[in-house]
């Protein structure tokens, strides 16, 4: 079935030809390569890893970064790319977000020349996969409390600790690991062959099933000093990576919402109940559809403006929080309503909405929970932090 995107406020007319072409290419790719197989991948609980070379070939990895075979997209194009991927599945978009914003971005921004030229071309082509280890089992919203430690030795750094909820963890060739040192939190590159390094898949997930989620165990991993990201000093640097990823999520959520909306508009026009009338003719159904269209349109305007602020170098973390917080919550609400409108059929994976709904529960929680973004905004408004 063809996808019918939402463009109620003609935001398309604000896009450049290149931005539209990039969006359309990714849309075409998702329709042809992702959607036909995502149900199987979701059922199997496996990330469709064989898509990775195609991501690389198309140039979807590396986002706004330039040089080292990275695509050098502007913020709008990068946002649109995330939107289209998440129209397929949040897990697929998560892969690209992690690779681009949480692995390539810190290497590009905080890495040495040698680290950049070794890893970025491989990561951009999809020939290497990366993951980002910040969160720990007991330190999610409060990463500053992390227990993972890196100790300076004569022949490098000795890393010890556990990282939890790590996307791409078991697939990764390289992990960006944040650890506490005598000089504060620092970022390190840990290669998968490092002795003492293990990635254990987390199973039993009812959400993001087509995504690889792992626990990383660092049991006295000795890495050379050249694997320390020289400029990645201080927790703030880790949070800079998260800001990149959150920007992509604010756009991605729109894709998931549009997929649900499109599915349910078609469904309610075709589903007949009471006097042979389509359920779309009922007021309560129309109220839900009107809500969805309104929230998608608002989310599109937020995301577009946010991208323009990013391109002008005027974006703030609080602005990113507002967009991530709003767009993900509204996408989740749209997915829930879509599932409801699909009736009993909606609990089957013949339809996408419940898969998106389940995925978005994770998206609401990761990359800063909904409540943490509320507190970031509260801090911004009042100047008074309320995190603890």
């Amino acid at each position: 079935m063809n996808f019918h995107p939402v463009d109620f406020y003609e935001i398309d007319s604000l896009l450049s030809d290149e931005e539209r072409l990039i969006r359309n290419t990714v849309r075409e790719f998702v329709s042809a390569e992702v959607i036909p197989r995502i149900r199987g991948a979701y059922r199997a609980g496996e990330f469709p890893a064989d898509l990775v070379p195609a991501f690389g070939e198309l140039g979807l990895l590396g986002g706004t970064l330039s040089g080292y075979d990275c695509p050098g997209l502007n913020a709008v194009a990068y946002g649109l790319l995330n939107q289209e991927l998440e129209r397929g599945d949040s897990g697929v978009r998560s892969f690209v977000s992690v690779q681009s914003s949480l692995v390539m971005y810190p290497i590009h921004t905080f890495g040495s020349e040698q680290q950049k030229s070794k890893w970025l071309p491989l990561l951009a082509k999809g020939e290497a996969i990366g993951c980002f280890g910040l969160t720990e089992a007991d330190f999610g919203s409060n990463p500053g409390g992390m227990r993972t430690r890196a100790e300076k030795k004569s022949d490098g750094w000795l890393l010890t600790g556990n990282k939890m909820w790590i996307t791409n963890g078991t697939l990764a060739d390289i992990a960006v690991i944040w650890a506490r040192t005598a000089e504060g939190v620092q970022g390190f590159l840990v290669e998968k062959e490092t002795s003492g390094f293990t990635a254990k898949g987390i199973h039993g997930k009812l959400s993001l099933r087509a995504s690889d989620t792992a626990e990383l165990i660092l049991d006295n991993c000795l890495i050379p000093d050249e694997n320390r990201l020289p400029e990645a000093t201080g927790l703030k640097k880790a949070l800079m990576c998260l800001s990149q990823a959150r920007f992509g999520i604010a756009w991605g959520a729109i894709g998931a919402a549009m997929a649900c909306y499109d599915e349910v508009v078609e469904y309610t026009k075709g589903r007949v109940q009471f006097d042979d009338k389509p359920i779309a003719s009922h007021q309560l159904v129309q109220e839900k559809l009107a809500f969805m269209l309104t929230e998608i349109t608002k989310a599109q305007l937020l995301a577009f403006r946010l991208a323009k602020l990013k391109e002008q170098g005027r974006i703030t973390n609080a602005q990113i929080s507002l967009a991530k917080r709003n767009n993900v919550l509204q996408a989740l609400e749209i997915a829930r309503l879509a599932r409801q409108l699909l009736g009993a059929n909606g609990i089957l994976d013949d339809y996408q909405s419940m898969r998106h709904m389940c995925n978005l529960e994770t998206v609401l929680t990761y990359e800063g929970t909904h409540d943490i973004h509320t507190l970031i905004l509260g801090h911004e408004i009042t100047g008074l932090p309320a995190y603890s």
């Binding site: 063809n2 030809d17 539209r20 072409l21 990039i22 290419t25 198309l58 979807l60 695509p71 997209l73």
Partner: protein, 262 residues
């Protein structure tokens, strides 16, 4: 090998077409457009020939400003440059008129090969490509599925009916119309999209092609376009009665003289 690929932009496949009140055409403002399906395959075929044998792929398209998007998509996939005929001052659904204009743009390029999609998804006449070959004085083959380069020309596989195929050898230059579904179409890459804006798109007006308004005037080729309308539903069922011999005779008579099927 210098290859020209004729591409057309058509409304996306499941578009809801709304006919204008005066039945002159459909409302185009509300439609979204895409590259005609078999033209995609023509472009892919051209790109593969270029990759195997070297040369140049040039896109040729005609239409209003919006078709520049199709051109960019083609350039992003790997075509080297494009010729764009802006038809703001004339529109025609007449294959003969369109072929005349396209031929005028192709002639000075002296290509080795001209590829066109088999037919367009909107008008679907399947005529423009073959008339274009006649206008250019080129040998042509339609419904082509495979092309092999020979030392002195090409060998092509042509689709017949009922699963039958035909291999034909042609000298170059030649024109081929390409069947859909014959290869795996590539995606435009982001790198390709970024590079496309640096590629040449030569814009041509009728006067640049040595043509005037009279050459493309409606009805100039003898085709009289009357109106666009939704097919009218008619229900006609005739039940023949009588003994089987009479009924068979009546049926044969109607098939021969009314339906004219034999």
């Amino acid at each position: 090998m210098k290859i020209i690929v004729c591409m057309k932009q058509v409304p996306v496949k499941d578009s809801l077409l709304k006919i204008k009140d005066d039945n002159s055409w459909v409302h185009e403002d509300e439609l979204n457009y895409e590259i005609n399906e078999s033209d995609h395959y023509a472009l892919e075929t051209a790109l593969r020939l270029k990759e195997a044998h070297g040369g140049e792929v040039v896109i040729l398209t005609m239409g209003p400003e919006r078709v520049k998007e199709a051109i960019k998509q083609g350039l992003a996939k790997g075509a080297d440059r494009a010729l764009y005929i802006n038809n703001a001052d004339f529109t025609s659904i007449d294959p003969m008129t369109n072929a005349k204009v396209l031929a005028a743009a192709i002639s000075p390029e002296t290509p080795d090969l001209v590829l066109a999609g088999l037919q367009t998804d909107d008008n679907g006449s399947g005529q423009t490509g073959v008339i274009l070959a006649e206008n250019l004085g080129l040998p042509h083959t339609s419904i082509v599925m495979e092309i092999e380069k020979l030392d002195n020309g090409i060998k092509v596989k042509r689709e017949l009916e009922s699963g039958w195929f035909q291999w034909i050898e042609l000298p170059l230059p030649a024109l081929l119309t390409i069947q859909s579904g014959i290869n795996q179409i590539r995606y435009a890459t982001i790198k390709g999209i970024m590079m496309a804006k640096k590629k040449e798109v030569k814009e041509l007006a009728l006067s640049d092609l040595g043509l005037s308004g009279a050459d493309v005037a409606a009805g100039s080729t003898g085709l009289d376009f009357q109106k666009v309308y939704v097919p009218e539903k008619t229900k006609q069922a005739l039940i023949l009665e009588g003994d089987p011999k009479d009924v068979a005779e009546q049926l044969a008579d109607k098939l021969k003289n009314e339906a004219k099927v034999f």
